[in-house]
């Protein structure tokens, strides 16, 4: 607990985390406003109310990456390891704090987006209620995805140590690489569906009925893992990367 408090002081005594958190919330709300108001909210559904969360997750990953790369950038990582020579404990505390923060941020953002859409949309394609398990998963599922993404970002930060490089990786990987793989003939789309971020996103994909045009619907649903499989792939990737990061961290000179 002591080390969690240490990491909390470190994180919240600089400005960038506040900016990142504000941007996550802003992204969620901005997309919610668009969904709720465009064409009187005809496209609004539980699923589409969460359109800004994907971008928000990327921004949160930037926050998580910076939490470790700035320590390398400014040399405070050495002070951290002098204060706590057991490096695993430093990494565990950082991870713990970011996981909690990610879950809280995702919960607040996704509910805020959902209720904003619900308030704005005059004629939604479907009733905007959290009736089924699938509805809940589409909203609250982000509280599972954000922490996993944060762990991946943290691990990349530890491995790369340098802000620009690490941020590039955590942004390009989900936003670009996993989509480009789809262009590989024949197997591309199968591979892409099972890649960590795409797989993870299945967990919050839930189409009850008309929310999307039929062709988009079929594309979203075509193949790939089930929601739980997707979550497992995503979480497994995070755990594997985190362990590699820990091993490297313990071996390397600070």
């Amino acid at each position: 607990m002591r080390l969690l408090a240490v990491e909390r002081i470190k994180l919240f005594s600089t400005r960038s985390p506040y900016w990142c958190l504000a941007v996550v919330l802003a992204a969620a709300l901005l997309f919610a406003i668009l969904m709720g108001t465009l064409q009187n909210g005809e496209n609004a559904s539980v699923f589409t109310s969460q359109s800004g969360l994907g971008l928000g997750m990327s921004v949160f990953m930037v926050l998580a990456t910076l939490a470790v790369t700035t320590e390398y950038r400014f040399g405070t990582i050495r002070t951290s390891f002098q204060a706590v020579p057991r490096r695993a404990n430093v990494l565990l505390a950082k991870t713990g704090l970011l996981v909690v923060l990610a879950a809280v941020t995702a919960t607040v953002s996704s509910f805020a987006a959902f209720f904003l859409v619900k308030a704005l949309a005059h004629s939604p394609a479907e009733p905007l209620t959290l009736a089924t398990g699938g509805d809940w998963r589409a909203v609250l599922g982000h509280a599972a995805l954000f922490p996993i993404a944060a762990v991946i970002a943290l691990a990349v930060g530890v491995l790369v140590r340098q802000s620009a490089g690490a941020i590039t990786i955590v942004l390009v990987w989900p936003l670009l690489i996993e989509s480009l793989v789809r262009l590989i003939p024949k197997v591309g789309s199968d591979i892409s569906n099972w890649m960590p971020f795409n797989a993870g996103s299945k967990f919050v994909t839930y189409i009850s009925s008309g929310g999307l045009p039929q062709e988009a619907l079929s594309q979203v649903l075509s193949g790939g893992p089930t929601p739980l499989e997707g979550l497992a792939v995503f979480a497994g990737t995070a755990v594997a990367l985190w362990i590699v990061a820990l091993l490297v961290l313990q071996r390397r000179d600070a």
Binding site: R2, L3, A5, V6, I9, K10, S13, T14, R15, S16, T70, F74, G75, T76, R78, T79, S80, F81, Q82, A83, V84, P85, R86, R251, R252, D253, A254
Partner: protein
């Protein structure tokens, strides 16, 4: 509380940064850790603090590796680099997380801020601090846990005279309180004023481990320069009568450098033999000169093939410092091309009486 460095070695790729280094730092005095830039001082300190992993050997604090210290900030304080602070974080927040990590009360943060004179600017972000203020913040961090062991890496670098004096006094006071203080520097003149004991390294190897006064008097032992039209007769005379060591002077065939004989006796001996002297002058080696001689060829960038392997790294070297090398007043022994490099480093300079630490450690 002592720091023990035992057979410590660090290899970076092909570079041997620290080479089987052994020494001990004792409480109650300031120990200067001296060597030219690149000699391996910072690397050694980082290994003592558990930041870098030694290739072989180990370092112990009070008999324990750094990793095994409980709440290490309460045992060991350090200032390795004053710039190791987040520029957007306030000084108080910086110290607050350090305090929290080792179970120290927040009140201690205010105490050390008061101690280093930063109390009024503690809320400012560290990025707005001058180097001197950052240095004070670093010291506050080092003193936070009231540790018995303190390590400072080049603490006076870039400070104004007032700051230098302040740090020097602080270090002496800390040692007077019975703490173990290790201060690195590449300036012998600075260490002469601060340190009671010196550990001198070059190219990662131990060159000397002796009380400061003894080291300096041995290293700067003065010589006498003589010039005479009958130098060829004078030299054997001095060697025979005074048992002096005489070396020729480059570019001055009528001159010689005499060591091991008093200047008066040299003049008298010459007069008795009826040899006219054109010059008889004492040559007091400066600290810097002596230091350059001692570490010549051990500076990291004086890249001549070192006598690796042949060197008994510590313990049995009876050799006298620098005597093998010619004086080179312009410091040309450090020429990067290695052209003017002096003969291989005296392996280990340890005045027998001065060495309180047996090579095996005690």
């Amino acid at each position: 509380m002592t720091i023990e460095v035992r057979d410590l070695t660090k290899v970076y790729g092909k570079t041997l940064a620290v080479d089987h280094l052994s020494f001990e730092v004792r409480p109650g005095m300031v120990t200067g850790f001296l060597g030219p830039n690149g000699a391996g001082k910072s690397t050694t300190m980082r290994m003592i603090l558990g930041l870098d992993r030694p290739t072989s050997g180990r370092s112990l604090i009070d008999g324990k590796p750094y990793h095994d210290l409980h709440d290490p900030l309460t045992r060991v304080g350090s200032l390795l680099d004053a710039n190791w602070v987040h520029p957007n974080r306030s000084a108080r927040a910086h110290l607050r997380w350090m305090a929290r990590s080792n179970g120290l009360p927040t009140s201690r943060v205010d105490e050390v801020l008061e101690l280093v004179g930063l109390h009024d600017v503690a809320g400012k972000s560290a990025g707005q601090y001058s180097l001197g203020m950052k240095q004070r913040l670093g010291l506050a961090g080092a003193l936070l846990g009231d540790p018995g062991v303190l390590l400072f890496d080049e603490p006076v670098n870039g400070l104004d005279p007032e700051g230098i004096l302040w740090i020097r006094t602080l270090m002496r006071n800390l040692a007077a309180q019975g703490r173990t203080v290790l201060v690195s520097s590449h300036l012998l003149s600075e260490m002469a004023l601060t340190a009671d004991h010196l550990v001198v390294i070059g190219r990662g190897r131990l060159i000397a481990d002796a009380p400061t006064a003894e080291f300096i008097s041995a290293a700067t032992r003065s010589t006498v320069r003589v010039r005479s039209p009958r130098i060829t007769e004078l030299v054997p005379l001095l060697q025979a009568q005074l048992a002096a060591t005489v070396e020729p002077v480059d570019g001055a065939p009528d001159a010689a450098t005499v060591s091991g004989a008093a200047i008066d006796r040299i003049g008298e001996a010459a007069a008795a033999a009826g040899i006219a002297l054109h010059e008889l002058s004492p040559q007091n080696g400066s600290l810097e000169q002596a230091f350059i001689e001692l570490t010549a060829g051990s500076a990291e960038f004086a890249s001549h093939p070192g006598p690796s392997g042949t060197a008994p790294s510590a313990g049995q070297g009876p050799s006298v410092p620098g005597r093998a090398a010619q004086w080179s007043p312009d410091g040309s022994t450090l020429a990067p091309d290695g052209s003017a490099v002096a003969p291989p480093t005296p392996d280990a300079y340890q005045p027998a009486a001065a060495r309180h630490t047996a090579p095996e450690g005690n």
